[in-house]
């Protein structure tokens, strides 16, 4: 028996985490993400899990990574300023291939910016924010239901690819209330165990090593230093570094089709909106209001790794329009994959593009 409730996006995210088996949350209060921590604080102890309010976001992500190595599903949630503080340890999670979920309820930045207003200003930071080369996975919900569904999915992807996985939501979706259905159980895919005889960082053909959490008797050494397949530091050999870091990137990028999650509407269209997160809802509104088949829509639920092949689903496209709640971040990624013009429709300040604004853009660029 599932249950249907009228709930907030942030609550649905916490419900998704609990359903996915998350049993550790380390966090620090920050608007507009705090309801996630509050829900976890209330629910985790009753579910046999651990909630801990850490002293800052550096500590929050550190505790999450520590907990993840004991084999529990672990998560933190934050917003811009806290996300910036997490960056070094996010790189550590990528380097050590620690499965964990980081939720960012984006708000207006830079700096303290607009704590109670929505933005999508951290879309490049979640991909490139820590130093060095690595790849990550980022999901972008546009409804309360998707806050639940994509949180569940984020845990599976994190485990499957052994990579820090981001739920890149925003104040609009995090704070809105809608009807959402919470199933009693969800399917959970645990990480692949480290095979007998395999070294802790010996990857299979998919580039992903098996996981031997602490306590499994494999005595794994986990380090952020460049390491060999034993997990031992090897910090000066160019080949050792090349092999490791290339694998960290390739294990995600080579699985782009597998990870991809997007919706295509009107593939024959000449004018195509490309969206992620809540601007997709304005586009859907415009398309419903106008009943116009010449408008196409590519809606991304996974933004990183970027599914460039999804753009090929619109063979007749003459122009791509990208409404984003930032000054134009993902538009760069789209432009580098297509020859057609890609028009950025940036909006900052905290409000969603209105249907009228997108209609004006349609008329200007089609």
């Amino acid at each position: 028996m599932s249950r249907t409730e009228f709930m907030q996006g942030n609550t649905a995210c916490a419900e998704g985490a609990l359903a996915a088996g998350c049993r550790f949350f380390g966090g620090y209060p920050i608007t507009p993400s705090t309801e996630i921590a509050e829900t976890m604080a209330r629910r985790l102890p009753k579910a046999g899990g651990t909630f801990i309010s850490m002293e800052d976001e550096l500590a929050s992500i550190a505790a999450v990574i520590g907990a993840a190595w004991t084999g529990v599903r672990a998560m933190t949630a934050t917003s811009g300023p806290g996300f910036s503080l997490m960056m070094e340890n996010i790189g550590y999670a990528a380097m050590t291939e620690t499965p964990c979920v980081i939720v960012n309820i984006q708000r207006g930045g830079p700096s303290t910016g607009q704590p109670t207003r929505a933005a999508q200003g951290d879309m490049l930071q979640c991909r490139f924010g820590s130093h060095g080369d690595y790849s990550t996975i980022a999901l972008t919900p546009n409804s309360v239901q998707e806050m639940f569904d994509l949180t569940v999915k984020a845990f599976d992807l994190a485990d499957r690819f052994r990579v820090p996985t981001f739920l890149m939501s925003d104040e609009i979706v995090g704070h809105m209330r809608e009807r959402a259905t919470i199933p009693d159980t969800v399917e959970i895919t645990p990480p692949r165990a480290l095979a007998e005889g395999s070294l802790p960082y010996e990857a299979g053909e998919d580039g992903i090593p098996g996981f031997a959490p602490f306590g499994s008797g494999r005595f794994v050494h986990v380090t952020g230093l460049t390491h060999d397949e034993r997990g031992y530091p090897d910090t000066t050999d160019p080949e050792a570094h090349d092999k490791l870091v290339r694998r960290l990137v390739t294990k995600i990028e080579s699985a782009r089709r597998d990870i991809a999650d997007y919706e295509v509407t009107n593939p024959d269209a000449k004018t195509v909106f490309v969206t992620y997160g809540p601007p997709s809802r304005t586009v859907e509104q415009v398309m419903r209001d106008r009943q116009d088949d010449s408008i196409g829509h590519l809606r991304l639920r996974v933004v990183w790794p970027f599914p460039e092949f999804a753009l090929e689903e619109f063979p007749n496209a003459r122009v791509f329009l990208m409404p984003e709640l930032n000054m134009g971040q993902m538009v760069r990624e789209v432009q580098r994959h297509v020859d057609q013009p890609v028009i950025s429709l940036p909006k900052i300040g905290g409000e969603l593009h209105t249907p009228a604004e997108l209609v004006r853009a349609l008329e200007a660029y089609r």
Binding site: F6, R179, T282, Q285
Partner: protein, 179 residues
């Protein structure tokens, strides 16, 4: 049909809860779609608080409120900040004792706070009186749905008081329409 309902008053009146209750009534008990949003600010107590709800028979795509057709205003400051632009096509319910101004739109004066303080004995249920009046004056959700949503949302032990407040609101809404 899409309705956009905006509630405003001062922090502490239960303005946000009113919006949540209305959204819940539509989305869970009237088989409609609803999106509830609110302005987040430091107005936990005092100041102008605002919550809004979009209600539709079809799935709600664009989730924000652009031009409310229904207003529920429970303070003068709330009127000035969030109600003064109500257009001629809108309808406004206002707490007659707390709001001095009157809009250009059609409006109903509901003595919710007086009623709550007096007959009901608890000022805190003024918002529930307003919700009751809203339902009978506009029909935006059904009486049954709002009753269930109120019961879902209020603290245990206060159900009877809140139901009484809601029913009093139904009557005040009906009466206001007839005037």
């Amino acid at each position: 049909m899409r309705h956009e309902v905006r509630f405003s008053g001062y922090g502490g009146q239960g303005i946000i809860l009113s919006a949540v209750i209305l959204g819940r009534a539509a989305a869970l008990y009237d088989n409609k779609y609803a999106v509830q949003t609110q302005v987040y600010g430091p107005e936990a107590r005092g100041g102008a608080s605002m919550g809004q709800v979009v209600i539709d028979d079809a799935p709600i795509l664009y989730p924000e409120v652009a031009d409310p057709d229904i207003y529920v205003i429970m303070s003068q400051q709330g009127f000035e900040k969030y109600g003064v632009r109500a257009g001629e096509d809108a309808v406004m319910l206002l707490d007659a004792d707390l709001v001095r101004s009157r809009p250009v739109s059609r409006y109903y004066e509901i003595p919710a706070t007086t009623e709550a303080k007096g007959n009901l004995g608890r000022e805190i249920v003024a918002n529930i009186v307003m919700i009751g009046a809203l339902v009978t004056a506009t029909g935006v959700v059904s009486r049954e749905a709002i009753e269930r949503a109120v019961l879902d949302s209020v603290p245990k032990g206060t159900e009877n008081l809140n139901l009484k407040a809601l029913k009093r609101g139904f009557e005040l809404g009906e009466r206001a329409c007839k005037l």
